[in-house]
């Protein structure tokens, strides 16, 4: 429901925020984003800055690193979900262990992509995230 409303109001674009402490990863995600319905509205280099940006303008979709200074991705996921429960969060992390993925999902993330990733893997992961949300809206 919320996603459908946002799309109608926002010229059919969903708002995306990129949160990663690596400049090259933030720029890579922006550069390789090949999903027309997503529009980058903010980038943040740590969890604290992501929460601040999210309070000013909540995104519909967030890509979230885990290991970051000041506030890590797990804590940030929890805070973003508290602000906007239907936000879609794709965790993108080099921490490839199951425990990290499970913890992120428990806090409210919706998907997990391991670093390093190709542009195709990024696109597929985001499309899967959006398909899941579309399915939930219809259900």
């Amino acid at each position: 429901m919320a996603l459908a409303q946002t799309q109608a109001a926002g010229a059919n674009k969903l708002k995306l925020m990129i949160c990663d402490d690596s400049n090259i990863i933030r720029r890579k995600i922006e550069r390789e984003l090949k999903i027309d319905r997503l529009q980058v509205i903010a980038t943040a280099s740590n969890g604290r800055l992501a929460v601040e940006a999210f309070k000013k303008e909540p995104a519909d979709v967030v890509t979230m690193d885990i290991t970051m200074p000041e506030m890590d991705g797990i804590e940030c996921v929890e805070k973003l979900v508290a602000i906007k429960p239907d936000v879609l969060i794709l965790v993108i992390s080099a921490l490839a262990d199951k425990a990290t993925a499970i913890e992120a999902l428990k806090k409210g993330a919706n998907g997990f992509l391991c670093k390093p990733f190709t542009d195709r893997q990024l696109t597929e992961a985001l499309e899967e995230l959006l398909r899941g949300a579309d399915h939930d809206d219809q259900g």
């Binding site: 690596s22 890579k28 992390s93 921490l95 670093k115 390093p116």
Partner: protein, 149 residues
Amino acid sequence: MMTKVELETFVEGTTHYFETAAHQPASVGSPYIVHEGKPTVQEFTGVISIAGKRRGIVYFTASRPMLTVMLMRMGETELTQENMVDLVGEVANTISGNARRDFGKDFMISIPTVVAGEPEKVAPPNNVRSFVIPINWRSHSAQLVVCLE
């Protein structure tokens, strides 16, 4: 004594990064052991510290020309010092992630730190042999150094 499987985890983490992020596989050169003194440290080095079942450091060290070409292959146009620091950090991050996945709780693995241009700040433990694994990519050579008790 470090096992072959343990060593392979670190090597696989490194080569996987080249293949996936830089779109071109790296080849692994003949490993060698440094018995005395300090192994090679190039201009940019991503270091992870390890404690628990094994203690010491693992680092990936590369030259500016190599990182420049890697960034270009990744589609990055800003070939800055900051992005080179970022890049070795990301390689080390991938090595660290692989190790956490494969070794589990037996190893406590730190978040990577990056040393740029100050080789004396890369400090392997004393009296420990270092395994040096050359990572060859295009015309460049980086080193993966595993220095664990």
